[in-house]
């Protein structure tokens, strides 16, 4: 199943999109814990787009939600300032100052985070969560 959305990068558009995403995740067979983690990671990406990629400008965001047999993937594309968040080193925890946890949460909560900047314009992030945990290697 694949669903596409277009959002305008404004903070007030994030809670309604969260409702939509929550509904989609409910329809999938992913468990509640993983659903919550996907929801939070996607919202952190969208918050980054609003704050940093567009810096308060009401730019366009494209979101593609894909539910396949073994994974949920969410692709988020913006056309703002390029920034590869996968290159940001993890902070030392617990952080003593506020802020700077969003990127850490995205990487921590998802199984895969892939970044590209198509033709050097904007950002395209693909977040993947596997439905089953990887088998433990003994």
């Amino acid at each position: 199943m694949e669903k596409m959305f277009e959002l305008i990068a404004k903070s007030e558009n994030l809670p309604p999109f969260r409702v939509t995403l929550r509904e989609l995740l409910k329809q999938s067979d992913v468990n509640e814990k993983k659903s919550g983690e996907i929801l939070l990671a996607v919202q952190e990406v969208l918050t980054n787009v609003v704050r940093h990629a567009y810096q308060g400008q009401a730019g366009k965001i494209k979101v593609v939600f894909q539910d396949s047999h073994d994974q949920i993937s969410v692709t988020i594309q913006d056309f703002g300032r390029p920034f590869d968040l996968t290159q940001v080193p993890d902070p030392e925890l617990p952080k003593k100052d506020p802020g700077g946890l969003g990127i850490f949460l995205i990487k921590k909560l998802m199984d895969q985070v892939e970044y590209t900047s198509p033709q050097g314009e904007g950002n395209l992030l693909r977040l993947v969560k596997f439905k089953k945990n990887a088998p433990q290697v003994s």
Partner: protein, 112 residues
């Protein structure tokens, strides 16, 4: 986000209702300004009705804790639902904050 604020003995008790994210956390930050300005020393925040928190919500609490500690005040968070507690744990903030399981426990902790 609904924010209910009341005074119980010398303790400032906040009850939050809703989702704490990038859009709603400025409202809570504004409410906390009064706490800092008056240097209120005993603050409890009940999160029983908060079903979702993101990094902006966490940052709001980290900032509040820093400012309250500066004048030797205490901040205790209570009744975190599992999804919210889990975000605190991932960020290892459960080691930094006083987290109570019940409001009674929180009121005792902050009064000590």
């Amino acid at each position: 986000m609904k924010i209910n604020q009341k005074k119980q003995n010398e303790i400032e008790l906040f009850e939050l209702d809703g989702e704490l994210d990038f859009h709603t956390s400025p409202e809570l930050r504004d409410k906390f300004q009064e706490v800092f300005q008056k240097q209120l020393r005993k603050v409890v925040v009940n999160l029983k009705k908060v079903s979702y928190i993101d990094s902006s919500g966490l940052a709001t609490f980290v900032e509040a804790l820093q400012k309250i500690k500066r004048y030797n005040g205490k901040l205790v968070l209570t009744d975190l639902v599992p999804a919210v507690r889990s975000v605190f744990e991932i960020a290892k903030l459960d080691k930094v904050f006083s987290l109570a399981n019940t409001e009674v426990e929180a009121l005792q902790l902050v009064a000590q």
